[in-house]
Amino acid sequence: MAIPAERRMVDATTPRPARVLSRRREAEDVWTLAVEAGPQDLDAAPGRFAMLTAFGVGEIPVSYSGDPAAEGRVIHTIRAVGAVSRALAGLEEGAMLGVRGPFGKGWPLAEVEGREVIAVAGGLGLAPVRPAIRRLVARGERPTLVYGARSPAQALFREDLADWRARGVEVEATVDHAGPDWRGHVGVVPPLIARRVRDPARTVAFVCGPEVMMRFAASALLEAGVAAEAIHISMERNMKCAVGLCGHCQFGGDLLCRDGPVAPLARVADRLHVAEL
């Protein structure tokens, strides 16, 4: 049987070595790496992801928290929780990592022109939402962001939040608990959603965060009148190959590396309420 030559390339499973340009701490256990960009990174649309290799340790999926097409370098924000993420988060300027990607389907930015976008993010879930907001702001739109974090010290991208506010983005940040210095909301994300949905029929929601938070946020959006087709959530499952060949990222019938990670709620809503799927 004949296989077209271009599809036989081993590129998809072979990382490309790339250099860390800089590293900065976002929060206690969260680090942002800037990595030199390759030509394929121009396809790193917001919401898509890369597979990052810490040589000799392993590989994990990491979303793009920046916009390589606009910034000329690749930004990844990593929480150091496992062996690989700790090794990646520990890479200093000049160190090499392996990069594959971009993979998957991102936020449907082309389809939301002229509609009101509400982004709902929790914790590290702000990372893949960040480049989406940047693109929307760059094209003159005024999205709304509701962002929840554990505490003020764990809130990410605070400079961006201030910058977006200055550009007319309504930013509502809330934390689970705070000391007296915090001027934002304290409490969970879902109750903040209803009042920010002004025209449900014209609203599109981008949701990314811990799955429990996304379920409640999705309910709040539905209650506010946003259609399930217009609510897009970014799902997370184990990923190994990232190109639909290894079977790990199944979520019902979806292979999330290929059919996600961003998926319309209308497609996955039933599955969200099945434990251990």
């Binding site: 296989i3 081993v10 072979t14 490309r16 070595p17 040589f55 019902g252």
Partner: protein, 373 residues
């Protein structure tokens, strides 16, 4: 391929094996291993399991001697051909760190050309299913593609299916349909075996043309049809009718608890399944950390680590892992790849240490929650 059936003698089959080896193929066929049929290198029909049959039942596999001297008198070997096309472990790449640079070298594509002798109808279908998964999408498993594109298949129609077989009900056998280069039907008699031979491809026709053969007599052609009809009649099991996607409508069915109480989550079913394709990767390094490498190896959705995300496994319970396997195999596979993931070979039944029977489970689900317990 409308050429008339030919008849090969055992010597003719030997000539086929020699011709394949002579044109650079590594010829793999059934051999009588230690208590099991094992696919291994064969250089002549002397290596084949002459006079061996098998006996399979839930949780049971035994070789049994046959008194007819058949060369292909068994139903199925425990391991399918995926072991060669999609091997249990292979190197993807290695890398060397040197002075702040990384030299990353993809593992070379395999150059070995396989010829398989004795592929059953269900196994051919299984190869087609893996083709769809590993070659049919936007990305291709390059190593599988390399092996697959040079494969030569000599299929052999099944004469004596096992009690665990249900290919008829899956419409995947027992008669070989497509995907082969040559298909043989063994005609056993007191004088020894003859083989009805038919080409399934240009390469197969060219190969047959170079072998000592004669046209089949009408009686031989009729005998071949009887072999297949007999296999059909002796099929040990059947998958219950109905759309298996009904499984997805009741993911909280009590039968999941029932089967989970029996399932050991050992993953044996996924290892012997000819379509299970899941893999994971393992990164290794030398002590200095300078030489690193990544291997791909078979994984199983029955492993807890399979669904691990930071913090823990998504599918922690055995119930959820069995559910993932069965719903994927029979239902979501159709959504993902347009075919069922099951070909009815019954290996998962025979090699389940506690004898869980996929057809029995499906019958229980089809019966509905009220009728059970």
């Amino acid at each position: 391929m409308n050429a008339p059936d030919l008849v090969l003698t055992v010597e003719g089959l030997d000539a086929l094996i020699s011709a394949l080896a002579g044109t650079g193929f590594r010829v793999i066929g059934p051999t009588p291993g230690e208590g099991a049929i094992v696919h291994d290198d064969v250089s002549s029909t002397d290596d084949l399991p002459r006079g061996w049959g098998d006996e399979q039942a839930p949780g049971r596999y035994r070789l049994r001697p046959r008194d007819d001297g058949a060369l292909f008198g068994y139903a199925l070997a425990p391991q399918s051909w995926k072991r060669f096309l999609h091997p249990p472990r292979e190197r993807l790449w290695s890398a060397r760190r040197e002075g702040g640079e990384v030299d990353l070298r993809p593992a070379p594509l395999p150059e070995e050309r396989f010829a398989f002798i004795g592929v059953r109808a269900c196994e051919l279908k299984a190869i087609a299913v893996q083709d769809r998964v590993l070659l049919g999408g936007a990305h291709v498993d390059a190593r599988y593609a390399a092996r697959r594109s040079s494969l030569f298949v000599v299929a052999v129609n099944c004469a004596d299916p096992a009690a665990t077989c249900f290919c008829s009900s899956m419409q995947t056998g027992p008669e070989v349909g497509e995907g082969h280069d040559v298909v043989l039907t063994e005609l056993v008699s007191a004088e020894g075996s003859r083989f009805l031979a038919r080409a399934g491809s240009e390469a197969g026709a060219a190969m047959l043309a170079g072998l000592p053969s004669r046209p089949a007599t009408p009686r031989e052609v009729a005998a071949g049809a009887e072999v297949i009809a007999g296999a059909e009649a002796r099929m040990g099991r059947a998958m219950p009718p109905g759309d298996p996607r009904a499984l997805l409508a009741d993911l909280e069915h009590p039968r999941w608890d029932d089967v989970a109480a029996r399932c050991l989550t050992c993953g044996a079913c996924t290892q012997v399944c000819p379509t299970c394709f899941c893999t994971t990767v393992e990164d290794t390094s030398d002590l200095s950390g300078r030489e690193t490498a990544r291997d791909q190896r078979w994984d199983s959705c029955f492993a807890t680590e399979f669904s691990f995300i930071h913090g823990g496994a998504v599918r922690a319970s055995g119930r959820s892992r069995y559910r993932q396997w069965l719903t994927h195999k029979l239902a979501t596979w159709i959504e993902q790849f347009g075919t069922s993931g099951c070909v009815g070979c019954g290996r998962c039944i025979a090699w389940c240490p506690v004898g869980i029977d996929i057809t029995e489970e499906m019958a229980a689900f089809a019966a509905g929650p009220e009728d059970e317990r």
